[in-house]
């Protein structure tokens, strides 16, 4: 019987040959992997039974209502994210912008006022009003404000104090601690580079040594670990690579080794990405891992590579879209890690961001769209460095570049008090 629409990759006869081979040697790793594959097979078979002609649908309405509600109210299950409320703002606002759902002006203003209360008097943003500044909520707050993109939003950021904060967490070896008295890892370099570049506060010395420190995080696997010596990991690899792109030093990575590592993180059966070798697929890596391909494409292009594809990023775009649409959506709204897991705003943000990366190749001049399922599944494109929409990046940069780079007024970088 002929199918009207082309069969989905996961429904092809040959797809079961992609199941994990354990070579008759069972270990915790192989058992966990097979469990996940079975649950995915279950999802596929249920889907095939319900839909004769599979046209995966993005549950826009449901996601919109989940996001709209969350922007105002969250249950006490979110007490564990009480030190990450700017993140909640960013995850939700970015998801809404990908869905091309407008944020009412009153809500936007309320977000601005809330984030202003999260800003520390000594610069940077904390996880909530009165909390100490930390690079992660700082990154999230600045991104959220740039998504809003109003004068009010831009004005929330105290650029002079932000620069002081960045200097206060800068380490002599080029790395950054996440907060005063806090831990070092490559996320901090990305958060610092992101906010500093968007708000135009990069001074000649701010990122001294940073690129070398990030480069030392690339390991024998080709990806990057959180600190030098650690296992290559998708989240940290994204942070390190994107930071280097901002600093203009991405060519100093072993790009071939990195490309080999990240492409091998796409799961042959599930279609989604794992965060580390021999670990499980997770919807959030749809962005952290797949999002590396646009960065690498550009980096290789800048190196003079003439053999790059002119139509696609170097990963299986359809397979990733299938994974997200079939396996990562909660019917009541929101997206998730894998079947069986609960929805949350973090996974909603990064599954949608990954879906956008998979759908859109190129930039405003050279654009190739591959939308799996209905046209209505189309999301807005996202900027692969900042993960907010490209127009918002351009608008923010334009705004802040009209302002002078502040002069550093706080203490000079030193090994900060380690309490």
């Amino acid at each position: 019987m002929e199918e009207a629409s082309p069969p989905l990759r996961c429904f092809r006869e040959s797809h079961s040959s992609e199941l994990f081979s354990d070579d008759g040697v069972q270990t915790v790793t192989s058992k966990e992997q097979r469990k996940v594959e079975r649950s995915i097979q279950e999802v596929y078979s249920v889907y095939q039974q319900i839909h004769t002609s599979p046209q995966p649908a993005l549950l826009r309405e449901q996601h919109y209502h989940y996001l709209k509600k969350g922007l105002r109210h969250l249950s006490d299950a979110y007490e564990c994210l009480d030190a990450s409320r700017p993140w909640l703002c960013y995850w939700i606002l970015h998801s809404l912008e990908l869905l091309e759902e407008p944020v009412p002006a009153a809500v936007a203003s309320d977000v601005c006022q809330f984030l202003a209360r999260c800003q520390s008097p000594t610069g940077g943003f904390g996880g909530g009003p009165g909390q100490h500044a930390h690079l992660a909520p700082t990154y999230a707050a600045v991104n959220a404000l740039c998504i809003l993109g109003t004068e009010e939003a831009y004005k929330v950021i105290n650029r002079e104090k932000l620069l002081d904060f960045l200097y206060s967490v800068k380490q002599p070896d080029g790395s950054f601690v996440m907060h005063v008295g806090g831990e070092v890892d490559v996320r901090s370099a990305y958060c610092a580079a992101s906010v500093a570049s968007l708000t135009n506060i990069i001074t000649p010395t701010l990122f001294d040594g940073t690129h070398n420190w990030i480069l030392s995080c690339q390991n024998w696997e080709g990806g990057l670990g959180g600190v030098p010596g650690l296992e290559a990991h998708g989240g940290y690899t994204f942070c390190g690579t994107a930071a280097l792109v901002i600093l203009g030093k991405e060519h100093m990575l072993d790009l071939k080794a990195l490309l080999r590592w990240v492409t091998s993180k796409q799961m042959r059966f599930e279609g989604g990405f794992q965060g580390r070798c021999n670990k499980l697929v997770d919807g959030c890596y749809s962005f952290w891992q797949a999002g590396l391909l646009p960065l690498l494409h550009r980096a290789l292009f800048k190196e003079g590579d003439s053999t790059l594809s002119e139509s696609s990023w170097m990963f299986e775009r359809e397979a990733l879209q299938e994974y997200i649409l079939l396996c990562c959506q909660n019917p009541g709204g929101g997206l998730l890690d894998k079947p069986g897991k609960s929805r949350d705003f973090y996974h909603t943000c990064y599954c949608l961001s990954g879906l956008s990366v998979a759908q859109h190749f190129g930039n405003k001049d050279l654009h190739n769209e591959l939308i799996l399922g209905r046209d209505e599944n189309r999301l807005a494109p996202t900027h692969p460095v900042y993960n907010i929409c490209p127009e918002k990046v351009a608008q923010a940069i334009e705004h802040f570049h009209q302002l002078p780079v502040p002069v550093q007024t706080g203490p000079t970088p030193s090994a900060m008090d380690q309490s």
Binding site: T27, G70, L71, L198, V227, G229, H233, C277, E316
Partner: protein, 349 residues
């Protein structure tokens, strides 16, 4: 729902700080969320009570036993609140608290919440203050016995080893873990970490040992990507095609141990032979075989990576091919212009 009922019951039994006489002098400070809050969390009574009191202490910069006790409560409610952890550390020093007791405390907290950043950082601070790493390797091994890939645990372990130069016995520990699960990529990484920081890989007897060890693991489980990646990783510097007898050993495996990883490894080896223009190999044969395998991977054995293998193929043809310049489309490639680049740099026009 049982959970909701339990929480309701538990809250009724709580003696709020705001009602305790030892706290009567301190006015709780409510959170300043503003008139129209966003992302407003429906905190429980207990949560609000504890954090209102915490804000009061912070505001007054109070350094007391009761403040210390309150941080314990606050951490219990949200172990990710780094502001509370920071304050606890200030108090540990200001009140000259027993750090051995603190070690016991942090041990219990990590056992309960091993995937939290703050708890591991706190432990690191206490270990540094005590200048005593003597419990660390055993503790981390305990955590790893429950989750052999816990990233924070491995990070802590590497920090302890480097800071206090505790390298002895680690290779043995890694081998134990690989015995249990040869697919534990964290253990493979640790293997690389230990050797890198001790003997290094430049000694040929070490490299030989590692190659043989890895091939042995590959034979046991040819579809174990970690082992193949390790083999590739340790031979990068010297060059895959320069290691004597490796090509033979790997092609021998093809009958019994074929996997996409073996095929990919051969591509890497052939590519290395081409790159180094090695006289040990017939360059044309290397080129042809590499392209053949890329096609095989792209079209049959590793189709999820089709785009990647086609790119490798085009790159090889472009660099080593004798024919016309290759591009991804049938038309000759246009000269690169900046408009073709995804807009990324802030400084791009």
């Amino acid at each position: 729902m049982p959970y909701q009922f339990y929480k309701l019951l538990f809250n009724v039994l709580v003696f709020y700080f705001r009602d305790r006489k030892e706290w009567a002098d301190l006015e709780p400070v409510p959170q300043d969320d503003g008139p129209n809050p966003v992302v407003k969390i429906a905190y429980s009574e207990k949560f609000t009570d504890v954090f209102d009191m915490f804000r009061a202490l912070l505001q007054n910069d109070e350094k007391s036993e009761r403040a210390f006790a309150l941080t314990t409560e606050a951490i219990d409610l949200n172990a990710a609140n780094y502001t509370v952890w920071h304050y606890r550390r200030v108090l540990l020093q200001a009140l000259d608290k027993d750090l051995r007791e603190e070690m016991k405390y942090i041990t219990a907290i990590i056992e309960d919440q091993p995937k939290n950043y703050q708890v591991w950082h706190h432990r690191r601070m206490v270990v540094e203050w005590l200048n005593d790493p003597s419990e660390e390797l055993q503790f981390v091994a305990e955590i790893l016995s429950q989750d052999a890939k816990n990233y924070h645990a491995w990070q802590h372990r590497q920090w302890v080893m480097q800071e206090y130069k505790l390298w002895d016995g680690e290779l043995e520990y890694v081998e134990e873990l690989l015995e249990e699960d040869v697919r534990n990529n964290s253990a493979w990484n640790q293997r690389h970490f230990v050797i890198n920081h001790t003997s290094g890989y430049s000694d040929s007897s070490i490299l030989d040992r590692e190659v043989q060890y890895t091939l042995k693991q590959i034979k046991k489980a040819p579809h174990n990507e970690s082992a193949w990646n390790y083999l590739n990783g340790i031979l990068q510097d010297g060059g895959l095609s320069s290691f004597p007898g490796l090509l033979e050993q790997v092609t021998e495996l093809q009958d019994t141990c074929s996997s996409p990883y073996l095929t990919a490894f051969l591509v890497d080896l052939y590519e290395d032979a081409l790159e180094t223009n090695s006289s040990s190999y017939d360059q044309q044969e290397m080129f042809n075989k590499a392209l053949e395998l890329c096609k095989f991977l792209a079209e049959e054995k590793d189709t999820i990576r089709r785009e990647y293998w086609n790119y490798v193929s085009r790159s090889l043809q472009n660099t080593y091919g004798s024919g016309d310049p290759v591009s991804a489309s049938s038309d000759p490639p246009p000269p690169p212009s900046s408009s073709q680049l995804p807009d990324m740099e802030p400084s791009d026009p």
